[in-house]
């Protein structure tokens, strides 16, 4: 036993269990993310999406479960594997896809691209491209949420790779010292780029890093959207109550490479196939819905809707105009407010 007082375990979920009607929309959101991301992959091979493109396929339950535990006014700050998080937080698939296409109808008018999705209307405060740096931004967002007495919480997302960065550790120190309403969400998808978590860190449960600053922590299973919703709900409401930050490590798995150009040859043989069979979040929730009495017709109707949304996002992005060159310098400096 360590000779310092360990923070108590995270309390039980404050949220009621979901019935079929409650769970169906979460499944629909997960499928929407899955299909929009598959469309993005197609568009990338068509060279309609350029640069870097990091897909969220396999991790949908994490963002959707967290969103289901949030209030609309809660803020999200995250890294660059953020398409799924953006859509879960409420960024419309059209604006998301148009941003990937670099179009003026995109969430950031084509200025941000895949790694920098922003939508102030749903408090999605950005994807960031420097691994771990966003942890400090999220901590600062929480500073303002606390001192402006908003009652909102900031979810600060990062991956297992970022958990080795200094910015992450400094952020935890500050958040705990100042008791800020921030939940650090570490999505451990087992690989930091091409390096497995065992090869990156002697301690592979990143939530344990929180103990070094006295922070409440938990490692959770991320494949079941209901479990994510419950445990994130516990963390978010603890932070909202002003008791301080929480770090949650969500164990998950990405089905694609680090980015579109990565064939992911570093995986163990058979690993991906096994994970797809045992741990695909859309399948797990589909099985649960069937247990809860969802009919074939209900599920098929959702699949059809999702197909329409994903196709529509692609076509909207494809048909949208590029940014206006006249706007090149428009956002370098903010003008004075009048």
């Amino acid at each position: 036993m360590p000779d310092f007082p360990l923070p108590p375990p995270l309390p039980a979920s404050p949220l009621p269990d979901l019935d079929k009607a409650g769970l169906l929309p979460l499944w629909e959101q997960m499928l929407t993310i899955r299909r929009v991301e598959e469309m993005a992959a197609k568009a990338y091979t068509e060279r309609k999406i350029l640069g870097f493109c990091h897909l969220y396929i396999g991790q949908e339950s994490v963002a959707v479960g967290a969103a289901a535990a949030c209030r609309p006014e809660d803020r999200w700050v995250t890294g660059y594997r953020e398409h799924g998080q953006a859509m879960a937080k409420g960024v419309p698939p059209r604006a998301m896809m148009a941003e990937l296409f670099g179009k003026r109808t995109g969430a950031a008018h084509g200025l941000g691209g895949s790694m920098h999705i922003f939508d102030q209307s749903v408090h999605f405060m950005g994807g960031y491209g420097i691994v771990g740096a966003q942890c400090a931004l999220g901590t600062g967002v929480a500073w303002s949420l606390k001192h402006l007495r908003t009652g909102a919480v900031c979810l600060t997302w990062f991956g297992d790779g970022a958990a080795n960065q200094g910015a992450f550790f400094e952020s935890m120190c500050l958040a705990q010292l100042y008791r800020l309403p921030v939940v650090f969400v570490c999505e451990n998808n087992l690989y930091a780029m091409g390096t497995s978590v065992e090869r990156s860190s002697a301690l592979t449960d990143m939530s344990l890093r929180g103990l070094g600053v006295g922070m409440m922590r938990e490692q959770i299973d991320g494949f079941d959207v209901e479990n994510v919703r419950h445990r994130m709900g516990a963390a978010i409401e603890y932070a909202r109550a002003g008791q301080g930050p929480v770090i949650v490590e969500v164990v998950t798995y990405r089905h694609r490479g680090h980015s579109m150009s990565d064939p992911a040859k570093y995986r163990k043989p058979g690993e991906l196939e096994e994970k797809k069979k045992s741990s695909d979040p859309t399948v797990i929730t589909e099985l649960r819905l069937r247990e809860l009495g969802a009919t074939e017709a209900e599920l098929a109707a959702i699949r059809e809707r999702v197909e329409v949304v994903a196709k529509d996002a692609y076509e909207f992005a494809d048909a949208s105009p590029p940014p206006d060159p006249a706007d090149l310098y428009r956002y370098t400096y903010a003008p004075a407010r009048t």
Partner: protein, 326 residues
């Protein structure tokens, strides 16, 4: 008009703005309980309380990034770096975060933040505590860069910086905190992008900013005794740069020397020199010269340090050269 020190002038600006706007707060190492490493924030903890004058751990990357996030979410942080040497630990948060988020978000998130603290060499602080970071920050669009040379300018410019909706780098100097000057009690602001002629002259323009303004004024006094009339143009802000003032000064004297702290190579002085060449080549009677610190890391020993840093003798020598009197 009251005469106060530079540190008091800076404090006056922060106090006035914090009284005016409850979203402004000061954060940094030892700014609260210890009144700041150079006593700039003396007494501010008592007036504003620990939620608005905030001590941090030694974690520049963390608290600079915290400031950026807080600025995006509705507050107006003043982040004090104990010195700008330590800002290099937080460089990523300033450059990749503060400077870029307004554009990355297509104008959805503003970043009204001031990063301030002493910059450049002081005395015998050796290599790692003597950095002039001017060119490191002036390089990047998205930042504004300010470097006052007098208490009057410090108050007026810092108040403007705190009210600006963009990230502002605000350079001070350990060697200037005790400088005294007139600062009115009545509120005033100095707009960015307006250089000021700190001394008028007709033969040569010494273009500079920050602490070397005083070196240039001393050089101008020496030159006057030799019959050379030197004027000193204090840029006050590097971004935005008062290009018109530079052009007009060169049009008047036809000779110019750019004087900057920090290294020669790729310094801000090179930028100004190039702009004069591009826009006023036909007005020049001599090539523009630069006087900078020597191109070596700062040595500790006093005799070597004196060789490295600019002094009025070197400035005067450069002025004689452009006058053809060397």
């Amino acid at each position: 008009m009251p005469v106060i020190t530079m540190r008091e002038a800076l404090r006056q600006a922060m106090q006035e703005e914090m009284r005016r706007d409850p979203t402004v707060f000061l954060m940094g190492e030892e700014v609260a309980n210890s009144d700041g490493a150079y006593k700039v924030s003396q007494g501010m903890l008592d007036e504003f309380g620990p939620d608005r004058v905030v001590d941090t751990p030694i974690a520049e990357n963390g608290f600079a990034g915290l400031g950026v996030g807080a600025a995006m979410a509705g507050m107006r942080p003043i982040i004090e770096f104990m010195t700008f040497n330590f800002s290099l630990v937080a460089y990523d948060q300033v450059i990749n975060g503060a400077a870029k988020v307004y554009q990355m978000s297509a104008g959805q998130y503003r970043c009204p933040i001031v990063f301030r603290g002493p910059n450049g060499h002081a005395e015998n602080l050796a290599a790692q505590h003597s950095t002039s970071a001017d060119s490191l920050y002036a390089h990047f669009p998205g930042l504004k860069v300010v470097s006052p040379s007098t208490p009057y300018d410090a108050t007026g410019l810092l108040k403007t910086a705190i009210r600006d909706d963009n990230p502002v780098i605000f350079f001070e100097s350990e060697l200037m905190y005790a400088h005294k000057g007139e600062v009115p009690d009545a509120e005033y602001l100095i707009p960015f992008g307006q250089a000021e002629l700190k001394r008028d002259g007709t033969d040569v323009t010494l273009i500079t900013w920050g602490k070397p303004v005083h070196t240039c004024l001393a050089a101008a006094a020496q030159l006057e005794a030799e019959g050379i009339s030197a004027q000193v143009l204090d840029l006050r802000t590097l971004r935005p740069l008062d290009h018109d003032a530079i052009f007009n000064a060169v049009a008047k004297t036809h000779r110019a020397v750019v004087v900057q702290e920090g290294h020669l190579f790729a310094g801000v002085g090179a930028e100004i020199s190039a702009r004069i060449m591009e826009s006023a080549f036909d007005l020049l009677d001599a090539p523009v010269l630069r006087v900078t610190n020597r191109d070596v890391p700062q040595p500790y020993a006093t005799n070597l340090e004196k060789l490295v840093v600019i002094d009025s003798a070197r400035v005067a020598a450069a002025a004689r050269t452009v006058m053809g009197r060397s």
